[in-house]
Amino acid sequence: MSTVDPGLRDEIIAAIPNLRAFAISLSGSVDKADDLVQETLLRAFANISSFNPGTNLSAWLFTILRNLFRSEYRKRRREVPDPDGAFAATLTTSPDQNSHLDFEDFRAALERLPPDQREALVLVGASGFSYEEAAEICKCAVGTIKSRVNRARNRLGELLALDSADDLAPEKSVGVPVPATERL
């Protein structure tokens, strides 16, 4: 039957905020992200019998969402990113106390990561999944996730170091002074 155990239903609801945050990081658009989450919920309820109770519900839902995004991504490329950034559109607080790195810089740098790296970084660094769980969600080896996360961090570090190196002596600019026109 399509009825979902109330406890499970509550757990699914509790996962929605995290699904949205992940979806925004994937799709680069809040509207798109909410559509993805909606589709994920429909799939989850329709296929709830294939969920194995006692296993990680959150990882299961993230997997569905990611698969949906991927299958759509193959059809049409990532939507033209909102110039102000999807996260910025949802921003209600500004986490910039004591930080000399501008939050905007960070967001822009994150947007520039390859999707594989960005998703690995978000799953491990923000969603709180282990490498093993992230590997399961992304259907790849644990080592692959580790290397994607590392590359993402290094790349972000480079991009952000370039920004802040403007203030300091830019003796080691890594040679990627790409301005905002890169996307063309």
Partner: protein
Amino acid sequence: MSGKRNMTTEDENEGRGPMADAVAVNAPRTPGTALDGDIQAKIGQHLRAMYDDVVRQGVPNRFLDLLTQLDQPSGAGKKPGGGAGS
């Protein structure tokens, strides 16, 4: 000491290889400069701040409405009588 925050990962990592501390995105793995470590710490902070900001918005009504619909047997959910697990 004056540790404002204990860096538990600082030197017990030595024998564990380069991947060992990569788990913690906020733990600066910094063979290089202080700037490097600083930036890696900021990356972790910003990433979570950005993410948590969305999480804090909770569950939009749109999804609660959807779930309510799905709960109703006659609704747009699934055809009743699938007989899979009742």
